[in-house]
Amino acid sequence: MTLWKHTISSRRGYVDGLMLWLLHSAAIISAAVVLLILLFLAVEAWPILNHIPFSHFFTDASWHPGEGMYNLAPMLSGTLYAAAGALLLAVPLGIASSLFILYYASPGIAHGYLRLVELLAGIPSVVYGFWGLTTLVPLINLVQPPGASLLAGILILTLMILPTVALTAHAALSAVPDEYIRAAVTLGMSRWGTIRGIALPAAKAGIAAGTILAAGRAIGETMAVLMVTGNVARHAHSPFDPVRTLAANIALEMPYAMSDHRAALFVSGLLLMTLVMILWGLAAWPGKNIHG
């Protein structure tokens, strides 16, 4: 009997050890992939970084890699304008959608609306881009030529990140304990008072996380943006000006880029990665305060 027991426990110990080892290696591999990508970007960018000072990427006259000019600043501003604009529209709309689903719509409508938002999340980005290029851009062109503009990019991105914001906000608001809501109702609070005073503050962390997720997608989105923003590498002075984002810059020029031009595109990849890492850093910051 004792022998039997001993065998089992040692076997269990063995399995645990194996699992621990497997999980450790899985974790190390996932972390290593990120570091390897960074390393890869740095190695590919090195041929240009070692003979052109880094400041040139912000002080050159323009982005004309064929003529040795590598100013990435217009692309950085284009990326930030497009992502910020899209967040400005998508976050209020997304939160409003989730509030509508949870607190205002009848169960039937709420269910249908939720499915619709989920469908919106599943549409491939190229489809959005194609629709933008053939419908949205000509429409904006009627107002203010050339149509392919920052505004078109913002609108397409809004459509794309709206479901992310709405679905994460919906999940966060659904997770607010029922007792909170019931207590508010017994206190005689109005529906809007309950939402503003109880539900939203309690779901703050989840909504913030969803916003960061959406921001990440807005910054990294490539094909749809590439098709509608006009891709002129100049700082935009109005929403009707064309812009080029960092991601679009890579997709647009990588297929035919060689030597320094190619390396400069990897520098724009590094910059994009840095931007996303800064965003993640910012996301971790308020998160700590909320939990602490």
Binding site: W63, G66, L133, T134, N141, G147, A148, N231
Partner: protein, 276 residues
């Protein structure tokens, strides 16, 4: 337990298959190295792949690096065949050029645009921003949307060569990547002007997209005029050799010029060389 045995069996099967896959009889692989123009390289690698399938035991190694690299590598014997996306210069006439295809680009406008022709000077003025309204060149009173190509594209290079401009002198409103994006941009904007491969534009115009190709210097922008060399915005895509080709190189060049690869040439929006 049962399932892990199944998994192990499956893994053994996969491993066995992997070993069985080992290519047999590559003892005498004949290798052909081609280097040169990045415009030609993607097409030639696809031709190479088809050639390898039809001639087992051969390997076609294609590397890009610009037309001048193609010339150099053929001169010093690093590559058997060079790829050059232009006519040979007088000082290069010691080499043998074999045209496999033609690359031609046409200026496109929206079909509703009343402008029927533009001179080289007018195109230059529009692209440098000196002319910004269609009225100036005989059209209606509307702002021109200038569509340019992204840096590094061969169409951009050919276009700039034709206008004798640098890319930084061009004042674009929209920058596009591939031909289809350019065609859709112009089709969706009645005041746009763009330039794309003639093969692609002709195809889309025939299939009902509202675009039109402008003639240049009085010559219609058609695939035929590109093929017979009269259209000004066109260039030959050449394979070059040091001597008159023989053996595998000759076989490959003949294959690349044959009707068997016309579908590949057209898929790259080039015009098959054909008989002149």
């Amino acid at each position: 337990m049962q399932s892990s045995i199944e998994t192990a069996k499956f893994a053994i099967l996969i491993l066995g298959a992997a070993f069985a896959w080992h290519p047999a009889g590559n003892a005498a692989v004949q290798k052909l190295v081609l280097t040169g123009a990045s415009t030609v390289a993607p097409l030639v690698s696809e031709i190479g792949r088809r050639f390898e399938l039809q001639h087992p035991g051969t390997r076609i190694d294609v590397q890009s690096g610009g037309s001048s690299r193609g010339i150099n590598d053929v001169r010093n014997g690093t590559a058997a065949i060079g790829m050059v996306s232009r006519d040979l210069k007088p000082e290069e006439k010691d080499l043998h050029a074999h045209t496999i295809a033609w690359d031609g680009i046409g200026i496109i406008l929206h079909a509703s645009n009343p402008v029927a022709a533009l001179s080289q000077q007018q195109i230059m003025d529009i692209y440098t921003g000196k002319v910004s309204n269609w009225k100036t060149v005989g059209g209606k009173d509307a702002a021109i949307t200038v569509v340019n190509k992204a840096d590094g594209r061969s169409t951009l290079e050919l276009f700039l060569n034709y206008l004798k401009l640098k890319n930084s002198q061009i004042k674009p409103h929209v920058i596009i990547g591939d031909n289809s994006q350019g065609i859709k941009t112009v089709a969706g904007n009645v005041n746009a002007i763009g330039y794309v491969s003639i093969g692609a534009a002709e195809y889309e115009a025939k299939h009902g997209l509202p675009i039109k190709l402008l003639p240049l210097d009085g010559i219609e922008a058609t695939v035929n005029n590109v093929r017979n060399g009269t259209f000004p915005l066109s260039r030959p895509l050449n394979l070059i050799t040091r001597e008159s080709p023989s053996g595998l190189a000759r076989k490959f060049i003949e294959f690349a010029r044959s009707a068997e690869v016309h579908d590949l040439v057209e898929a790259h929006y080039f015009v098959p060389a054909g008989v002149r």
